[in-house]
Subunit: 705 residues, 2 copies
């Protein structure tokens, strides 16, 4: 049956232009072209095969990932791939590796937080991979609470060095990817201590391993933290543990783009170097400055004055800064200013976009990844639901396709709609990032708090829904979904940490809730809500009528989290609707998207009907009508289901699932794959003579076990 | 800090007698004693350690399981453990193995479905493990739809044999545990074909492997189906694939306790052997009889008469049977009757309890297992939530325990309540099984349909909630929950198949829904609903008022499934309340259980408030009050949380989780465990010279990858 398309009858049913939908999904013809080309390149290269991943031992698995990472780099170099293409290649190789952190965290941290000189020194090494970096922030005892990190960096003026130290067991760095066995360098976050005083958490470039023989340097204890959830999955990554025993690094390895110096010793004629930038972190309310000349470190507290021997030129008053930097910041939030020798402040070249912007950027990427992961799972479950038949044979004819059961549709199609919804909200967040960046450059900070709340909330919403959705898809594949060859167990295991990293999902929702409460409290003021919270002006009256909160924020946090979710869902639905107000070319494409949008919205209404009913937004009759409509929408999506997942344009390699294979030829492939398990290398299993035969031969009492 | 109880302050807070609660949880002092003794025996024996499971390759893992299974058997034999103790030992060894199917399916199938002679021949061999059996029902193409199984068993009168054959690829047996590499025999289910006619699915004892060298017998193709979800988890089990190529077995290896013979050739004086039983399966509407004398097989269709040469004595009319056998049966349902030589029918000794009874029994076990799995996860998450601190440090004091956050409580405590609720519903189902068995013996079939619906629905409800609950507990442990050393990834992976096996959860809910609809339709008749559906008589009027169904069952199946869930939740809540109406000794024990019962009920009300509101059962004000009450209940449970999970009496070995360890000394244990990963065997990882160094040394273009 090789070459036969077992899903052809399904594809023939579809009522829209699949190729046009592929462009909509990809975002643009260019994006489609790059993805299509690179995904096929990866799929056709046996060097990137991944179907054996689940059977390998940890060491084999890890070694194989090292090989693939090197091979990917070689491919990128050999084919002279562009940066965009190289990133896509790593994406389609679809295997977590130390390179993710090197490219995704280490290099951006130096670019964002390093001085010009630091960038000039470190970036060329990193770009060529002459050094390999990781990002060592989280510790055994502290994750969400970055302010609580315990690692210390004590400045030693005698030697002009920082002493990086892990004072407690819980201060051990724990989780950083690439740290365990590979990285030669780390950006390590530590509490800066100068002259016995603590000055908040800063980043330091620390070499971990010898560039000659890869052995850990003096004072460095480093290793892998052990197995994680799932077969293959994130076990290809060497998430690491790291302890510092008084490790000394030169002063210029503190990331100083945002934490530079000016000093009382400074010569009054040093005009050129009197435009450093000074870091303010909200949680310390201090600025740390280190002099390039004498290495003197000084700390500015709130209200302190920067009065130097150069005669009062730097009469900058710190208390002014915080007025400028108003607005909510996340745990990692930093606001960066430059203070000139005249004592005037101005934004530095990189400033806030380095802060909010980076957060908006990273979280937009996570939302985009959510739509990728969910769409993969949905593609697998949809295709298999069309292949699988069970019950309902009439007169010896074929049984009913599982996808035709209403119970299956009601679980599968909302997830299909969610995949599209998340794709579009990710696209919108990309736009939001560009918009925020542009505004910041024009000194317009007005949309910042809202943008921050958007990204935090949508990161939480989409990752939670995706993790749950992948597992639901696995269950929708029945027993066979439990096999690794279905691809779904690994997809789930590799995806779920997204609910925790870059902000725990519950912590993020509480941030959104705080923002919403603040907005509500200001409704009466002149500060009008903008963007995604503009709708609040319409419920202002209502808010005033009902406001009778008699308990604290923490006490009501459970309800506030629910409110935050509702707010985020509103954004998703609104942006989906806005997307449909654009022109979308291709026969029937817009109609299909309209059906999916309605499914998404009505499914939510059904799921949360208690909230709608208790607030009087709808009546029970409305709820029943919505339910009827939902049922009818499922019937409309049914003939287009396969084409709607084809539009994701995933190769069988990327999908990594026999159940989801394009041609639907599931059973022969499952059967063949089974024989590849290492257990099948021998007919009689290893251990038969020691452990099975003594049972059968009644010799167990004398057996050596 | 060895020996220090880091959770002592939590334990001191508790307001009830934990030892008394342990008895309540175990079910009786005797049950507590056996569990306590055996779990400690297993925990203290290094032969049963399991902490290295996740790092082993498939082959190592499997071989290690073979060793443990043999070692467990040796322990049972050496210590002369009772059957109860032996079962507990296997439970606490906590590792899926081929022995599960041997003891749990193969032996019961022979006991239940084998004739006296078959039992006498096979059971002693099985009890001593001189043969090892598995249960080969599911095929690649058919799971839920047992009637659709494709394997054939064709009777060859010439040789007095059955020819077992796999006619298609999809007829390959697929999933049976123990089949892949170990079992010497299988109960294989196949369509019986006699004289060219099909007569439904029957079980056959088929030898698979040589008892001398373990090689597969002629015509048998057998192997492992490959890796499944998770590290360790079910990969210790050799779920297998099996194809038959015209494999011949003697006629007396068809399981015939329920499918025996009477024949036209039968001598009229053969009185004693004229009390065989005859199998009727609903899906074939035929009975198959095989003569012990001449091996003649005859098939009785509906209405056929059993008229033998012995003069019309067996004037039994088949059509009568189905009247007797009325009532719903599951996919596997069989109703067994005995026909005497006089032609009268009567129940056989084993009959329906072999059918419903076994189903009630197996599913009651699954519900009991659900409470075990969920309580393990809850125990881990609760203890770790008391150990973990994050944010909220005041004046340099300790940070807030995560368990004190309301958002954490609102997710964790309903699961704690669910664990207890499921424990008690499992206990009640055990009673129901005993009750049903007793009634059947007294020819009282009245409670059968209700008992069947109960067990089907509660199996579905508890396994779904448990699978979701384990994953929720993992998320409640933050990042560290993603480590295998937390125990939660493996617990989840090993648990989730419970949602699929022994009846897919959605298929089961549809059965419950069908039963509910049937009950409603009969409300006006004289047939009054009993037991858990007795409440329907109270809503009879309501039902008549609103009944306006204009669509088919399938069309409304989504709503019907929701109704079935609601019905099952009502049972759980009612039985929890009934439990509390009993006397429960121990200081404060009953009070704690009352709090948990209220949490369980009000959490459900909150979750499903849409249904309560839209049906007018509650007002929005009620909903808000319930929410307030829930918040207050969480505060009441808080000081008792650790003691409530201590009451499960789990050893650290059984929990298998560093995060959940009894003494709360989490961080040092996590740190130590990390170094045991195979990747840490060498400081410089295998693969450095081939794949890392060429990167660092800029030699990638010439590297051999």
């Amino acid at each position: 049956m090789e070459g036969v398309d077992h899903l052809a009858h399904e594809r023939n049913k579809s009522e829209f232009d699949v190729d046009a939908m592929k462009i909509v999904w990809a975002g643009s013809p260019h994006a489609f072209d790059v993805s299509d080309r690179i995904s096929k390149l990866v799929a056709s290269d046996p060097g990137f095969r991944k179907d054996n991943r689940s059977t390998l031992s940890r060491k084999e698995l890890f070694k194989n990932t090292l090989r693939k990472a090197a091979y990917a780099w070689k491919t990128i170099v050999d084919l002279r791939l562009s940066e965009e293409e190289a990133a896509k290649l790593r994406f389609y190789v679809d295997e977590p590796a130390f390179t993710d952190l090197h490219w995704g965290m280490f290099i951006p941290a130096i670019k964002g937080q390093g001085t010009e000189e630091q960038q000039q020194k470190w970036l060329p090494l990193a770009y060529k991979m002459q050094i390999i970096g990781c990002y060592a922030q989280t510790e055994l005892g502290h994750g969400s609470n970055v302010q609580g990190l315990e690692t210390t960096a004590t400045f030693d003026p005698q030697t002009d060095e920082f002493i990086i130290h892990s004072p407690t067991l819980t201060s051990s760095k724990w989780w950083p990817g690439g740290l365990g066995k590979v990285a030669t360098h780390a950006i390590a976050y530590a509490r800066l201590i100068v002259g016995g005083r603590e000055h908040g958490v800063n980043g330091f470039i620390v070499q971990l391993r010898s560039l000659e023989d890869h052995s850990p340097l003096l004072g460095i204890t480093v290793g892998d933290i052990g197995m994680k959830f799932g077969n293959g999955a994130y076990n290809t990554m060497d998430n690491g543990v790291l302890r510092f025993d008084h490790v000394r690094i030169p002063r210029n390895q503190m990331l100083m783009r945002c934490a530079q110096y000016t000093c009382l010793c400074m010569p009054s004629d040093a005009k050129l170097i009197l435009e450093p930038c000074i870091l303010i972190r909200f949680w310390t309310s201090t600025a740390v400055c280190i002099c390039v000349y004498c290495s003197h470190v000084m700390v500015l507290g709130r209200g302190s004055r920067l009065l130097g021997p150069w005669g009062g030129k730097t009469d900058f008053v710190y208390s002014q800064w915080s007025a400028v930097c108003g607005g909510p910041v996340g745990a990692n939030g930093k606001v960066v200013l430059v203070v000139t020798c005249e004592g005037k402040y101005k934004q530095s070249d990189v400033p806030r976009q380095l802060v909010y912007g980076t957060m908006v950027y990273v979280r937009q990427t996570i939302v985009a990844d959510a739509s990728c992961a969910l769409s993969r799972a949905v593609c697998i479950a949809t295709r298999y639901s069309a292949v699988r038949r069970q019950f309902g044979s009439q007169n010896g004819g074929p049984e009913t396709q599982v996808i035709d059961y209403k119970t299956q549709q009601s679980r599968l199609f909302p997830l299909l709609a969610s995949a599209y919804a998340f794709r579009f909200i990710g696209e919108w967040l990309k736009w939001l990032y560009a918009d925020v960046t542009q505004r910041l450059q024009a000194n317009d900070f007005s949309t910042l708090p809202e943008a921050h709340a958007c990204t935090a909330g949508l990161k939480s919403l989409t990752t939670t829904a995706t993790a749950d959705g992948i597992e639901e898809c696995r269950k929708l594949c029945g027993g066979h979904g439990y096999l690794c060859s279905s691809g779904l167990p690994e997809l789930f295991a590799v995806y779920v940490p997204a609910c925790t990293y870059e902000g725990d999902n519950t912590v993020l929702l509480l941030q959104v809730a705080r923002f919403l409460m603040k907005t509500v409290s200001q409704l009466g003021s002149s500060k009008k809500p903008v963007g995604t919270i503009a709708y609040m002006t319409r419920v202002e009256h209502l808010m005033q009528c009902r406001c009778g909160v008699q308990r604290g924020f923490a006490e009501l946090s459970v309800d506030l989290v629910e409110a935050a979710v509702a707010h985020c869902q509103l954004i998703v639905v609104s942006k989906f609707i806005e997307k449909l107000q654009q022109e979308i070319p291709g026969k029937g494409v817009k109609q299909q998207l309209e059906v999916l949008c309605n499914i998404y919205a009505l499914f939510l209404l059904h799921k949360h009907q208690g909230d709608f009913l208790s607030t009087g937004c709808i009546t029970p009759k409305h709820a029943a009508l919505a339910n009827d409509e939902l049922r009818s929408l499922y019937s409309q999506v049914r003939p287009n289901a396969i084409a709607l997942v084809d539009a994701f344009n995933y190769t069988d390699h990327y999908l990594g699932s026999i159940l989801g294979c394009y041609d639907g030829n599931v059973y022969p492939k499952l059967y063949e794959a089974a024989w590849k398990d290492p257990l099948n290398e021998s007919v009689v299993p290893d251990g038969y003579h020691q452990y099975i035969r003594p049972l059968l031969k009644q010799e167990i009492r004398t057996a050596r076990l």
